[in-house]
Amino acid sequence: MSQSIIQVEHLKKSFGSQEVLHDIDFSIEKGEVISIIGSSGSGKSTLLRCINLLEIPDSGSIRFHDQDILNSGLKPTDYRTKVGMVFQNFNLFANKNVLDNCVLGQRKVLKRSKEEAIRIAKEHLEKVGMSDFLSKPSTKLSGGQKQRVAIARALSMDPEVLLFDEPTSALDPEMVGEVLDVMKGLAKSGLTMIVVTHEMQFAKDVSTRVIFMDKGVIAEQGTPDEVFNHPKNPRTKQFLSRFLESTQANQTEE
C-alpha cells in the first residue's frame, strides 16, 4: 500500500499516429504541490487531462487510492468529482451567475441541499475574494475574476486533488498576481495540487516538487532547489536558461 492519492504507471497516449505521452510514471501524495513545467507541446496538458479522464490513456494505469480507475474500479464520474480541474480558459458556465457556477455541481453531483451548497459556495467565493459578485453573470467578469470563480467552483466540490492547466496564461499581465495569490493561499492551506505553469517564480516558491516535461516524457523531477538550481538534464538547463533570458529581457525593458 502506498500513501499516494494518485499513481500513474506506464501511461501512454497518442493522437492519431503521434505519441504524445511515452510511458509516464508519476504519483502524488497528500499535501504535495507539484508544478509541471516544460515547453509548449511537450504533453503537459495531455497528462493533466489524462489524470482527469478528459482524455483516455491508450495504455498504462491510473490508480486512485490504490483503486484502478481505468479498469472499472471506480465510476469515472465519481472519480472526477474527487479530482478538480481549473482550465486555462476558465470555462465558467456562461448561462449562470457567479454563485450558481459554484452551486450547480454541489447540488447535482454531491446532492447537497440548496442551503448547504450556497453556504459552501459563499465560503469559497469569500476565500478567493469574489463574494461581492455573487449575482453577477459570469460572462461579465474580467479574466482574473473568472479564474478566481473557477477556483472557488472547483473547491466547492471538495476535491482531494486540484489540477490547474496554465491557470494564468490567458490573463492580462496585471491580473496574474491576483490568481497566483489565491493559489499560494491554497498551497499553504495544505491542498494537494498539480499545476502546469509557465510562472517559474511560482513553481520555485510554492511547489514541493517540480516536474520538467520534455517531448512526452518526464525528463527531470525533484525539489524546486534541485530542478532550478542544480538541473542534471541538459534539456532542463536549456529550457531554464531560455526562460531566464526572457525574464531578464522583460526586466530590462521595464
Partner: protein
C-alpha cells in the same frame, strides 16, 4: 383583374365568425406545432450532437451510432417531403388503427414536421456551445446528461432563439396545408366562404391580410423577446431585426 374593395370589407365583417374560428385553429396549430416540435427537436438534436465519448462501452457506442442514423433518416424524410403529403399520408394511413380526428392528427403531424427542422437548428446550437463548457461539467463529475440539461441546452436555446422563433412564424403560415385533411384552420374556412359565395379574389385577399397581421404581430413579439434577452448579454448591443421572408 380587379378587386371589389367594398365587397372585400363587407364579406370580412359578415363572415367574421367563420374567419375568427379559423384564426383560432391556425394559432393553436402554430403554438402546438412549435412547442412540441421544439421538444422533439431538442431530443433529436441532442442525440445527433452528443459526442462519442471514449469512455463509452461498445454497446453505448453502437447505440449512439444507431441513434444518429435513425434520426438522420427522420430528418431526411420530413424535411424532404411537403407537409401536405405527410399530413394526407399519415392521417389516412393511421385512421383505421387510431380512429383519430383531423385535429389530433394535424397536431401530431405538424409537431413531427417542425421537430425535424428544430432538430437541425438545435443540433447546430448545441454544437456551437464551447466544448470547454462540457469539459468543465465533466471535470466536476457531472454526467453527460446533466451537462446537457443544466449547461449546454440553455446556452444552445439562447443562441438559436431567432431560428426557433422563426418556426412559429413558419407554422402560422404552413398550418394551412392541414386543409388537406379537413382541419378547419384559416385557409380551410376561407375556402368554404369563398366557395359558398363564389367570390374568390376578395375572400382570399381578406385571408392574406389576416395571415399578414398574424405573422407581423408574432414577429414583433419575437423581436421584443430577443431584444430583452440580448440586453443581458455584453457582446451584442444592437437588436437583431428579423427577416420577414421566412
Amino acid at each position: 383583374m380587379q378587386i371589389d374593395w367594398s365587397y372585400a370589407w363587407s364579406a370580412l365583417l359578415k363572415n367574421w365568425p367563420m374567419f375568427w374560428y379559423g384564426v383560432k385553429v391556425t394559432i393553436a396549430f402554430a403554438i402546438v406545432g412549435t412547442v412540441f416540435g421544439f421538444l422533439i427537436g431538442l431530443i433529436i438534436g441532442a442525440i445527433r450532437a452528443i459526442p462519442m465519448d471514449p469512455l463509452d462501452s461498445t454497446f453505448v457506442k453502437g447505440l449512439k451510432k444507431f441513434g444518429r442514423w435513425i434520426t438522420g433518416f427522420y430528418i431526411w424524410v420530413f424535411r424532404g417531403t411537403p407537409m401536405m403529403i405527410q399530413a394526407a399520408f399519415i392521417y389516412y394511413l393511421l385512421r383505421p388503427v387510431l380512429n383519430w380526428n383531423p385535429i389530433t392528427a394535424g397536431f401530431v403531424i405538424i409537431s413531427i414536421n417542425t421537430g425535424a427542422y428544430m432538430a437541425e437548428i438545435l443540433r447546430s446550437g448545441i454544437q456551437s456551445v464551447d466544448a470547454g463548457q462540457l469539459e468543465a461539467c465533466k471535470s466536476m463529475g457531472m454526467s453527460n446528461f446533466q451537462a446537457m440539461i443544466y449547461v449546454v441546452f440553455p446556452q444552445a436555446i439562447k443562441n438559436t432563439f431567432p431560428a426557433i422563433g422563426n418556426q412559429l412564424v413558419v407554422n402560422l403560415k404552413d398550418s394551412c396545408m392541414m386543409n388537406v385533411i379537413s382541419v378547419t384552420e384559416l385557409f380551410f374556412q376561407a375556402s368554404s366562404i369563398a366557395g359558398s359565395n363564389m367570390r374568390f379574389v376578395e375572400i382570399y385577399f381578406d385571408t392574406a391580410i389576416i395571415y399578414l397581421i398574424l405573422t407581423t404581430l408574432t414577429t414583433a413579439l419575437l423581436n421584443f423577446i430577443e431584444r430583452k434577452m440580448l440586453r443581458d448579454k455584453e457582446e451584442e448591443k444592437k437588436p437583431i431585426f428579423r427577416e420577414m421572408s421566412a
